[in-house]
């Protein structure tokens, strides 16, 4: 078993294919569901320890992954691999829907989580899977019994135990899709990665680059003792590129490019990626040559892609209506707090949260927006609940929240928004999130409104954010993202946001001048009340939510990659916010390399 560390690194998925409510078709010798069924029946009817509860809920999840990954740098191949793996996860609960063995973090952490999760055989056979499920179910049951007694003891120590149920009832679902065999051969991915990345050799001032193609086909299985039986095929393809350099004063700078498609065939061809990388390289060189941004407070225009990325970071932590798990330790709370995972909206349903023109909707059922694919969609969520549209904010008033089967103070039932990658714990997360206004301005009018505000504040120039950074994508070395989380993760909770491309816009004639090195400060939900103007130019911003425990559902959860991320979109227009603070660069500049970079050609 390569356990969770590996799980968290692998794969992702999107877009279930059309539902076919049929048993496994003839000629399909996949024995997975049959093995699950038979072992589930045995456990359901016979698993018990003397003197303690029998299981009231058993759940089997299994993920079958086919991966193709290719990484290239400056036209040379760094790695190229194909793999096939299967992982299972077994959840057994004792108690009842009101009070069960879940939702509780004891001093020993998540009990039974590791023991009942593991890598299993890839033959889709009957015998080996039953053996694995048998042991995992046994472990999970014993862990649940232990967890339940710890939880009950903890509850007795509280003056007022929580009244909210642990688990909500949901309609069982039967859905068995045809399996899809992966096809890697339609294109030569090694060559495409080489060709696309080779154009970056035209930028000798780049230090390092990474271009990664990542293709995944996943078959996910779910069976519960409530009667749910699901086999779904999902697939996702992505190309992600990072490039970095240093300015002449030693400031480290980077840029990234990402494109995603439901299937490998939908990815842009090598020439298209090469063109995009040429632009990314050119943009980074321009940034390198630009002056430093000074400290600034005033109106800021967020172009639509920057607005969408900012909304993903700012809104996500407050969209979930599930209550956090009971915790015996302060660590978990502190962790969530630190990364900005605390919801500001639970308990505030019915109150005004935005200007009256604004509505926010999350809709996993949509496939496209104005001809552009929406990759955040799905038919059934990761708890086996049918997906549905949720109207979160209407006319500025908070109406609803995203729910999994973990009830919260405001809502008791799932609305099909439990999402996870691999077999991680599902969290209520957004899918395709629409931020709309009934009072939207044409781009020219929006810009005029922005410059008028600047003038009124007495500024000679104001700042415009064209794109936000995603450090998960723009780090050439994977460790750099971990460093980022370690060093700056905490500031994210207090509203620090990282822009990538920022320009000064002069009030006098509207001319733009790129600047570098700023960080947006204190940009939280509260700042969104100061929306001065909203555009009518909505774009689809596709990103991968980070499923890592502790990051999922926090502001940092907006930074993920195709390797394990949860495909999501935000559809948002340009925004003008008032009173935004930008902190310029105040650190000590680094010394430049003492050895000149060798030529790239």
């Amino acid at each position: 078993m390569r356990i969770l560390a590996t799980l968290a690194l692998l794969a992702a998925f999107t877009m279930p294919v059309a539902a076919a409510q049929a048993p496994v078709p003839a000629g399909d010798n996949d024995q997975t569901l049959r093995a699950m069924h038979d072992e589930m029946e045995r456990a359901r009817t016979r698993l018990s320890l003397a003197g303690v509860d029998k299981p009231f809920y058993i759940e089997y999840r299994l993920l079958d992954l086919d991966l193709r990954s290719v990484t290239a740098s400056f036209g040379a191949l760094d790695s190229s691999s194909v793999s096939r793996t299967r992982f299972m996860s077994v959840d057994v609960r004792v108690g009842d829907y009101h009070l069960d063995s879940s939702n509780f973090i004891s001093e020993d952490g998540f009990q039974g989580f590791l023991g009942s999760t593991g890598e299993v055989g890839i033959d889709r056979d009957y015998n080996s899977l039953r053996q694995d499920l048998w042991l995992a179910t046994d472990q999970a049951y014993k862990a649940a019994v232990t967890q339940m007694s710890l939880k009950q003891a903890f509850l007795r120590s509280l003056t007022k135990p929580p009244e909210i149920d642990d688990f909500s009832q949901a309609q069982p679902l039967v859905k068995v899709d045809p399996r899809i065999e992966p096809d890697w051969t339609s294109r030569n991915w090694d060559d495409e990665a080489r060709t696309a990345s080779a154009v970056l050799k035209n930028f000798p001032q780049l230090y390092g680059t990474r271009v990664n193609y990542y293709l995944v086909y996943a078959t996910s299985y779910r069976m519960t003792s409530e009667g749910t039986t699901i086999r779904e095929s999902r697939h996702l393809a992505g190309v992600e590129a990072a490039l970095d350099t240093e300015a002449d004063d030693g400031m480290e700078l980077h840029n990234f490019y990402a494109a995603y498609a439901p299937l490998p065939a939908g990815l842009p061809d090598a020439a298209t990626v090469a063109n995009a990388l040429t632009k990314a390289g050119g943009d980074l060189m321009a940034l390198r040559a630009s002056p430093l941004v000074p400290d600034y407070t005033g109106p800021v225009l967020f172009e639509a892609p920057a607005a969408a990325s900012t909304l993903a970071q700012v809104l996500e932590p407050s969209l979930s209506g599930a209550r956090p798990p009971l915790s015996m330790t302060q660590d978990f709370d502190a962790f969530i707090e630190r990364f900005g995972g605390r919801s500001e909206w639970t308990g505030r349903v019915g109150t005004r949260v935005f200007p009256a023109s604004v509505s926010v909707v999350d809709d996993p059922t949509l496939q496209e927006f104005q001809g552009q694919p929406l990759l955040g969609g799905y038919g059934v969520d990761d708890e086996g609940v049918k997906s549905g549209r949720v109207s979160i904010v209407e006319n500025g008033i908070l109406k609803d929240l995203l729910m999994s089967r973990r009830p919260g103070p405001d809502f008791s039932y799932s609305n099909g928004h439990a999402r996870s990658a691999l077999l991680s714990d599902p969290h209520p997360l957004s899918s395709n999130l629409f931020f709309q206004s009934t009072d939207a301005l044409k781009p020219a009018d929006l810009r005029k409104r922005f410059l008028d505000a600047c003038r009124a504040d007495g500024h000679e120039w104001c700042l415009e954010v064209k794109r936000m950074d995603d450090p998960a994508l723009s780090s050439v070395r994977q460790e750099d993202f971990s460093d980022f989380v370690g060093e700056l993760g905490g500031e994210i909770a207090s509203g620090a946001r990282m822009p990538l491309f920022v320009s000064r816009v002069y009030v006098e004639d509207g001319r733009e001048e790129p600047v570098r090195g700023g960080v947006l400060e204190g940009l939280t939900l509260r700042s969104l009340r100061n929306i001065l103007a909203i555009g009518d130019d909505s774009v689809v911003y596709t990103y991968m939510q980070n499923p890592a425990e502790g990051l999922a559902g926090t502001a940092l959860g907006a930074f993920g990659s195709v390797q394990g991320g949860i495909p999501s979109t935000v559809i948002a227009p340009s925004l003008v916010l008032d009173d935004v603070e930008i902190r310029g660069f105040h650190g000590e500049p680094r010394r430049l390399p003492l050895v000149q970079a060798p030529p790239l050609k």
Binding site: R46, L77, G118, E119, G121, S128, A136, L594, L600
Partner: protein, 577 residues
């Protein structure tokens, strides 16, 4: 549970279970090798970097580049099904950029503080594209030089305030002669399909037994080509291949104790792969041992004579003696330094001699996993006589010298991603006073009678344990015997027992060896310590120890599964396919 292979952990544990690695082949291949683009890129950047950094502030006095080109295939099966089948290739670059002087540089250890750590490497291009490789090497050199410069400032600051220990006066780095050896590239050609069938079949055979909870069979093939250049003039290219099959089975005794049995086969040439009959016999033996252990009684704590078979003795020497002969431990003030001041003194009975000889690829026709032509610091492997007729002669050395041992003897080793330290290669124990197995057993029984004991213990297989070498812990060691028999003084048949660890103090137990067997046996495995997991061998004859201490082993409190195995469930026969 399940597919966990690496469940045995602990510092300095010799684990025979970890994934594949390499051994042997072609250091100085007779055929002239074609010019390697990798070496060319490395040399070009080395020259350029040294020219600039040796005159910078702080000045680099030594730079080395190592590129490890790793081609790896793995086919694994469990409980009758295929678990994974994949192959991969990757190149890993390690850069050392030392600033300061050989005497005092950025790697100098400060008190008991852990050294400032920079991950010592990065992946680089698989394509032989010289400009791209040079760009990647340049970047990593800059990263390491910056880190080294920072570290040197700390060293110099703390140097002024800290007291020098005697061994701390040894230089930080040794000067070594340059070596040039450019051999041919090695490769493994693997058809995974037949192995996929074999691992299914092997693990299905385990599943025939209802007591088997989990079984794993893993085949690995590895070709490791290593390239190295440094500013002293060393230039190396050499490759090693290694094939391995591992079998692992897990059961649980009725009281909840986990029982693991494991065996492995190693070979260098595809034609030497074990045949099905050989593997099948090994599987049956593992099942029988596991079943016997399931039912075996738990032995009570015991002190008395013990007989270790050759393989068990080999692990024992590796753990108890070998780790303490590693040079860097003599230097580190947080280490116990058991042997630091004992060079020239008797530490073992006079009839025992020990060497560590990584230059040997085989012993008595069997391959040795600890063979290598050059160590991971580019120093040629050297046969090191450690103990001569009971007297300690020297230590295993990397390029971190001791006051009295100023040079490396080719034992600086590491797993990719770690910094090399002195490690064992092939630890070979020999004896000038041997007896046959029957004589050894008789001698054991004689000892039992002398000591008025009804039984002694026979250790047939040892898992490796953990050795406390740090000063803060007691100077004790613990090794876990996997297969232990009671040998009765009254001549009853031996009885298999379980649940014991060997405990004690090293100096004492080494001096209590009273007799040795006449046949040396080999243990091939992976040893995990400060510089990661490295392939090692240990060779030793059976040994009889007049007094050894055994304690009860910690045991899992997990009860055995509640339901019977699905394939052996009397109540559910109807469900079987």
């Amino acid at each position: 549970m399940m597919k966990r292979q690496t469940s045995y952990r602990g510092f300095l544990t010799c684990v025979a279970l970890l994934g594949g690695a390499w051994v042997c082949f072609a250091a100085n291949g007779p055929a002239p090798a074609p010019a390697s683009p990798v070496l060319a890129a490395m040399q070009a950047e080395l020259d350029r970097s040294m020219a600039a950094l040796s005159t910078a502030d702080p000045a680099a006095y030594f730079i080395s580049y190592t590129v490890s080109d790793r081609q790896y295939a793995e086919v694994s099966g469990s409980n009758g099904a295929l678990l994974s089948s994949a192959q991969s290739r990757a190149r890993w670059l390690e850069v050392q950029s030392r600033v300061g002087t050989y005497q005092l540089d950025d790697t100098h250890k400060l008190g008991d503080r852990p050294p400032s750590w920079t991950s010592p490497g990065t992946t680089v291009a698989l394509d032989d594209d010289i400009p791209i490789l040079r760009r990647e090497i340049w970047r990593e050199t800059d990263r390491q030089y910056r880190a080294a410069s920072q570290a040197l400032i700390k060293v110099k600051t703390s140097e002024q305030v800290q007291v020098q220990t005697a061994e701390g006066a040894a230089p930080d780095f040794s000067r070594e002669e340059p070596h040039t050896s450019v051999g041919s590239r090695v490769e493994v050609q693997v058809d995974r399909k037949p192995w996929e069938e074999r691992v299914r079949k092997y693990t299905a055979a385990f599943s025939q037994s209802p007591s088997v909870l989990n079984s794993i069979a893993t085949f690995t093939a590895l070709a490791m080509n290593q390239y190295q250049v440094n500013t002293e003039g060393t230039k190396l290219a050499f490759g090693q291949v290694h094939y391995r099959l591992e079998l692992y089975v897990q059961t649980k005794a009725p009281d909840g104790m986990d029982i693991d049995r494991y065996t492995n086969f190693d070979w260098l040439d595809p034609k030497d792969a074990p045949d099905d009959k050989t593997v099948s016999d090994a599987i049956q033996k593992l099942i029988q041992e596991a079943q016997a252990l399931d039912q075996a009684p738990i032995v009570e704590p015991y002190a008395g004579p013990a007989l270790l078979t050759g393989r068990a003795a080999a692990v024992f020497f590796h753990e108890v003696f070998g780790h303490r002969a590693e040079g860097f431990r003599q230097k580190d003030i947080s280490e116990g330094q058991t042997f630091t001041s004992k060079v020239g003194e008797r530490i073992l009975p006079e009839f025992i001699s020990i060497k560590d000889d990584p230059t040997e690829a085989a012993f008595g026709g069997q391959m040795l996993l600890g063979y290598y032509p050059f160590d991971d610091e580019g120093v040629p492997a050297v046969n090191v006589p450690l103990v001569d007729h009971g007297v300690l002669k020297t230590f295993l050395m990397s390029r971190s010298p001791l006051v009295n041992v100023p040079h490396s003897n080719g034992h600086g080793r590491r797993q990719l991603g770690y910094v090399p330290v002195a490690r064992q290669g092939n630890l070979i124990v020999s004896s000038s006073q041997t007896m046959t197995n029957d004589q050894l057993r008789q001698k054991l029984i004689d000892l039992l009678k002398q000591q008025n004991l009804s039984y002694g213990l026979l250790i047939d297989d040892i898992e490796g344990g953990f050795t406390f070498t740090g000063r803060a812990q007691p100077q004790a060691f613990q090794v876990t015997p996997l297969v232990v028999y009671k040998v009765f003084a009254d001549g009853r048949p031996d009885q298999i027992v379980r649940g014991v660890n060997i405990v004690g103090t090293p100096l004492v137990s080494l001096t209590k060896i009273v007799a040795t067997g006449d046949k040396q046996e080999i243990f091939n495995g992976y040893c995990g310590a400060e510089s990661g997991s490295v392939p090692v061998s240990a060779v030793a004859p059976a040994i009889l120890i007049s007094e050894m201490e055994f304690a009860k082993k910690e045991t899992s409190t997990d009860r055995p599964p509640i339901l019977p195995p699905p394939a052996h469930d009397p109540e559910a026969k109807g469900q079987q396919p």
